[in-house]
Symmetry: C2
Subunit: 687 residues, 2 copies
């Protein structure tokens, strides 16, 4: 092997620079690897395609591959590398272990890309590319959600306005105007409302004045409206606003606000649906508030379920992209993990599982720690999809475990305390209580757990050994190191850039007996080597080794999966029983409801929504409601401040504390660094 083909770049470049340095394959080549032909997808440029929903029907007879979900321990505000691990694992499975693999990821919100967070395509040499397209617009799904969400919002205010200014008969004449033949007719969506009202008449002229009144007056109680407008921008000044102050709106002002678009219930619908007819039904059923008599008012009552479905008809098709190593990725849906279930779409997973087939892998990610993310993955997503995972990967870092063991606070944008960059096995061991509880939570579903320790360069072997011991003691199937510390990057260590086009890298035949193979180029020229060979010693090679190690372990965990899957709670339990089951899984001794929460639970039960699963809106920074309570707190009483519902998406969400649904911009947002290279149209400064 010619060592000169190693493009050693030190320090490791920014994510966008790495992403831009790789020429992605045409997405039709990626599709071909999955046996998709051009009728199965629509291209969106050269590097993105929407795989079309009817593929599900075509593959109905096909068996599913293995289903793996990546969760995490309770994170620090810096994040523990779940996405990067997910992408790295798939690169290992697909590009080096020759397995069929699809990564299914959430589409990131565009707002934070320009704020603090930057992009969300993985990192370093484990990324989804083109990274700028992943982070910006993608194929327009979030824009479609914004449009649909806000059309519904506009319809609510306008309908209230029209009801306030018109008589029953004027409203009726306008809603059911005579057609050219002079006949009035109801259309489909009106029959939906009539049926709900118990009016079984076919012709408008047959309605009694009382029935006309009930039909035309939604009589929305403004104080009960839960539907807010959305925008995919971090705009804190829209959190609380007053609308309707124009003179033409005649004083019908109302306090409301904007959420970030991914917090829209329509995003949750997109993530949980699996067909056009199901999506149409869910969108129509979404409840926007109550009538003054306490009846839920739905999008279909407003005549809007069909139009919302039309706006969302392309969004239901998952977007195919690729990793830096050319393995396929589905990017689809990204419900806000704070108030929704934080998992990518069911549609993408279903299609992917058929495409990879038996022996193949679909690896997805569940937002936040396993207490919230994996819990919702199991009890909401898997419940609706009917799918069952064979393996859960829990990503842990020594840094986070030290924090849980009593280390100083960790904050974004501030230098790390010394405790985090020098050996302290005691702190790690103490913090492993957090990891252990996450392992136990996941094990309770009857699924194998693999712990992946995302190793940083300052982590010592003794610290790593402590984590592994704790993981195994807690019942993990296996615990391995996975690392992308190449981009943590101490300046003193020589770093290696991986030219993925030339595919030189390590291949593990077995965990214990590592055989390193260097595949130099296409056509493949295989050069055996070993880990002591000079050029093997840089971090990317180690990273790759670890990824492959993880891949082999995950494969074993899947092949040895149990068949003992069980949910945390049955759907027919009461709302309170379900909330309490989840709270106990956190370590709580009980639950305390505010007056408001009690009232809402009664209301939703009376309205017939008690049978829905529960989507807890809780901080991700602790098992408890108190983000400062690190480690594995127990015996606390979980306070439920309020209870809300996404009826169309299909869950009740209790609020544990207050959840921000609209982030802000910092004093110096990322956008200062983002610019266009006008000579070639490439994006600069995105990280």
């Amino acid at each position: 092997m010619n060592a000169m083909t190693l493009q050693v770049v030190s320090p490791v470049p920014t994510d966008i620079d790495i992403a831009n340095s790789i020429q992605p394959q045409h997405i039709s080549a990626i599709a071909r690897k999955l046996n998709l032909n051009p009728n199965h997808y629509d291209l969106y440029g050269k590097y993105k395609a929407k795989v079309l929903l009817p593929v599900i029907d075509e593959l109905k007879g096909q068996k599913d591959g293995f289903y793996v979900v990546v969760g995490g321990i309770t994170p620090t505000p810096l994040g523990e590398g779940k996405s990067t691990t997910t992408v790295g694992l798939c690169q290992a499975l697909g590009a080096f272990l020759d397995k069929k693999v699809v990564t299914t990821l959430r589409q990131p919100s565009q707002g934070p890309t320009f704020g603090i967070k930057g992009g969300a395509a993985g990192g370093g040499y484990s990324q989804v590319i083109p990274m700028d397209e992943f982070n910006l617009h993608l194929t327009g799904d979030i824009h479609a959600i914004t449009a649909a969400n806000n059309l519904l919002a506009a319809a609510i205010d306008t309908r209230m306005f029209h009801e306030s200014t018109q008589s029953d008969s004027a409203l009726f004449n306008r809603l059911c105007p005579p057609n050219k033949q002079g006949n009035r007719i109801f259309n489909d969506v009106m029959y939906t409302r009539l049926k709900k009202l118990g009016i079984h008449k076919k012709f408008p002229e047959d309605l009694t004045p009382e029935e006309v009144k009930r039909f035309v007056r939604l009589d929305v109680d403004p104080d009960t409206i839960t539907w807010r407008r959305v925008m995919d921008v971090n705009d804190r000044f829209l959190r609380k606003i007053t609308v309707g102050q124009g003179v033409d709106e005649r004083g019908m002002v109302r306090e409301t606000g904007f959420d970030i678009s991914v917090a829209s219930e329509i995003m949750a619908v997109l993530a949980l649906t699996d067909s056009l007819s199901d999506m149409r039904a869910r969108l129509g059923k979404m409840v926007i508030g109550n009538s003054k008599s306490g009846e839920p008012v739905s999008a279909d009552d407003l005549g809007l379920g069909g139009a919302l479905s039309v706006l969302m008809k392309d969004a239901i098709n998952p977007t195919l992209m690729q990793t830096l190593e050319g393995t396929p990725v589905f990017v689809h849906a990204g419900p806000f993990a704070n108030i929704a279930h934080g998992n990518s779409s069911i549609v993408a997973d279903k299609i992917a599982l058929k495409l990879v087939g038996p022996g193949g892998f679909v690896v997805t990610e569940a937002g936040f720690g396993c207490d919230i993310g994996v819990e919702k993955f199991m009890n909401i997503k898997c419940r609706y999809s009917g799918l069952r995972p064979q393996c859960v990967v829990i990503v842990a870092t020594v840094r986070a475990l030290k924090m849980h063991g009593g280390g100083p606070a960790v904050a974004a944008g501030k230098p790390l305390d010394r405790a985090y960059v020098s050996e302290n096995v005691g702190l790690v061991e103490a913090g492993c209580a957090n990891l252990a509880r996450h392992v136990e939570i996941v094990k309770s579903y009857g699924v194998n757990v693999v712990v992946a320790v995302n190793r940083f360069s300052s982590d010592t072997d003794a610290e790593i050994a402590a984590v592994r011991a704790a993981a195994l003691a807690a019942g993990a199937y296996e615990a391995v190191v996975c690392s992308h510390f190449a981009h943590g990057g101490k300046g003193a260590v020589k770093q290696g850039g991986v030219d993925t086009r030339s595919r030189y890298l390590i291949c593990a035949k077995d965990i214990n007996a590592l055989l390193i193979i260097i595949v130099e180029n296409n056509p493949k020229k295989i050069v055996q080597s070993d880990v002591t060979n000079t050029n093997m010693h840089h971090h990317n090679f180690l990273m790759r080794f670890y990824q492959i190690d993880l891949g082999v372990v995950v494969q074993k965990a899947c092949e040895n999966a149990t068949e003992a899957f069980k949910f945390l709670y049955p759907l027919d339990a009461s709302i309170k029983d379900k909330i309490e089951a989840i709270a106990r899984s956190y370590g709580a001794s009980g639950v305390e409801y505010s007056e408001q929460a009690e009232k809402k639970i009664k209301m939703y039960s009376k309205q017939g929504f008690a049978g829905l699963p529960i989507c807890m809106a809780k901080t991700q920074y602790s098992f408890s409601d108190n983000p400062a309570a690190k480690g594995a707190p127990s015996g606390f009483v979980l306070p439920i401040r309020d209870v809300r519902a996404s009826i169309g998406a299909g869950f009740i969400y209790p609020l544990v504390g207050s959840m921000s649904t609209m982030p802000g911009l910092p004093t110096r947002p990322c956008f200062y660094d983002i610019d266009l290279d006008v000579t070639n149209g490439k994006v600069k400064g995105l990280s």
Copy 2:
């Protein structure tokens, strides 16, 4: 010819049903007709493609085709069929006269699609398809504009907030934080601000405290902010709102509002730019308001010009679609005609003119009547593009001319008065004063005028003759009938559906000697016929004949174009002189300025913006400011209520009366009828 191949459908189906009944060609086939190869475009599904900007450079050496713009007389609220005429003309030129032709159209706003208006893809058998994709999302350009516009809005409020809560040095530390090497640096966009401030220093540490203050404090005067948020939804309750009422915003409330997205200045920038570097510059120069000392504050002052360009980088590529007859269409940009220039993009026209080449045609449309639409096309769009049209088509209807001659008011949704459906040559003749002035306005630019009378079934030959006589007397090059009355549809007349795949139709060799040719199928089997042949007598055949007639006339007008092009005003005239030149073209005797308008003219002049062209915001329903003043009013004084500016886009816009920039929804919006056929994903009820 087998008469059975004529799929006669009576009454004429809805637009979406006609559009859905035709299987569009794969867009790569349309691209091939223009000699575009797959490197020249990005596919967006099977029926849309974005043609990539570098095509302009590649075609630099190529000569342009003929450039035709379609305008109208002063319209009724029902519209006079400009878009349908534009599409029909292109179908005739391309599919029947075998000319290379590209139609360049505005992308319609999605908001009105769900409100009153319905779709905007032409109508009947002259449409852009797929009609639902044309009207919904398209390739995401308007969504990109919404995102960029609102990111800038969020940045304004957040910056004011941060300036109000932080000291100069805290702001400076955050804006120019030390990097990993401990050095502070300015980035590119900061140098832009420093240059504007006259500070020519390279390093942050060299700034004096006074310079730091000037650098970090934009000191925006909230009362001067002209930048509003936008949404592509008809949401009247957002016209006037109060933002910042959340507790975390500490009382920094402010009154503002939302416009419909197409009213964003960013849309006008998109329409007027012709390269990435020009777009980057314009976006950075956009002025959002003044500092308290009266200096304009720009997007680049906020550090945002680069990020906005990144959000818009794909939107700059025009979208290729097709007509029902498979002729190519560019859909690109749709600036709000009320407060911007209402013309599709310069980029699309430039690319199209090269692609059709000498002897080919690019036909575009200018919103509203010629007094506003064509005037802005000439003085703003052509001024920035450097392109010159060879022919202007003015679309007129007998209906509108009767209204201008003194007929009763015409309103949407109300039955037409008898005057409009029975012969009244006198009313028509009187109304032709309106047509004559539009012809004169256009002639003054030194361009040939063709008048196209969009004939309805109730129009009589005598009425049509009167229009033709008036048009020629006013100096029109020619006046012909063009008709799509097939979809006006009197029930008694048998209607014909055109199966465009089988291409049987009429071909005119000459205006005077008409030869009708029936081209039955592919491969072409030509059957001569004549107009008296039985199956020729339905309306679509007549419509086609008229379209071809118009095509032949337009071709002659282009071939005989004069070289005497001149603008209405020179750019170096004062703002008032320019406004007055435009007002005189309307027939005004003078202009009257409000105190506010005087103040703003002084301010913009002082700020150095007096050299920009003028974009008049005036009602389209009259030459004057009074929409009720039909015909050709003269001697009136045009009142200028206020003067605003879109500095990045590059025009000053005086407001003649108040302009609504956010439409509302009616009591029964179109969305009631719009639904998805969940069995096949097709859209129903869009019209």
